[in-house]
Amino acid sequence: MELTIPLTLYNQLRQHGEATYPHECCGVLIGAFAEAGGKIVKAIVQCGNTRTDSPENRYHISPTELVRIQREAILAGYDIVGFYHSHPDHPARWSVTDLAEAHWTGCSYVITSVENGHAILTNSFLLVDQEEAKRFEDEVLEVIGK
């Protein structure tokens, strides 16, 4: 199973990480789940990071923002298929904190490493299993329109 994202949106989420550097950026991936598994991203929504106390190594999306994004997506016939955030001067791999704070099973968590203000790697991870046994699995990130 894979996460498919158009090049324009892929570039946008990476550029978001560059724009907020040295702080973490965050946002929502809107799209659809494919019948055979996998997801396709149709839009991304840049969000604010409420962790103004520690934005260089923490992110949090306001539930008030999420509620509006979810409602608009559902009423438009789309789904929240995942989230993205950046790791300033840190690898594009999920951390213990990322896993502890992840609760959207079945969704993709996309992470971009940003070094000295430049987006380097972008990886996607699928959150699987129920809360008590949740884990991230590496997920193929297919960028289309290159």
């Binding site: 973490e24 965050c26 929502v28 962790r51 520690s54 190594n57 923490r58 992110y59 949090h60 999306i61 539930p63 008030t64 999420l66 509620v67 509006r68 979810q70 409602r71 559902i74 789904d79 929240i80 298929v81 989230f83 955030h85 790791h87 300033p88 840190h90 999920w94 951390s95 213990v96 904190t97 990322d98 896993l99 502890a100 704070e101 992840a102 609760h103 959207w104 099973t105 079945g106 969704c107 968590y109 129920q130 809360e131």
Partner: protein, 103 residues
């Protein structure tokens, strides 16, 4: 009265794969109770064993968090929408932070 509850992606497998479920209720508490009555598998994903909402589960009435309204007793009307939204957060953990148990 009949109102809608929006179901987030991770809970849809336990809600008949539906994103919108209609319930009959006069309060948010009654709405959630009707929801789990219709879909019992949702209960353990929404509530802890003491019957309270799990800490990472946010419930909104339209654009307001019920924690800041009247919680379960928050009244609802026909045009209201209840949304269930698990929290989204994370971040880097350095080796030093891991060693110190940094939150």
């Amino acid at each position: 009265m009949s109102i809608k509850i929006l179901i987030p992606t991770p809970l849809r497998p336990y809600a008949g794969k539906q994103s919108i479920i209609e319930v009959t209720a006069h309060t948010v508490g009654e709405a959630l109770a009707d929801l789990v009555a219709q879909h019992p598998d949702l209960r353990k994903h929404l509530f802890s064993e003491d019957g309270k909402l799990r800490s990472f589960v946010n419930v909104y009435l339209n654009d307001e968090d019920i924690r800041y309204l009247s919680k379960d007793a928050t009244p609802v009307k026909e045009t209201d929408i209840v949304s269930i939204v698990p929290s989204v957060a994370g971040g880097i953990q350095t080796v030093a932070q891991a060693q110190k148990g940094f939150q």
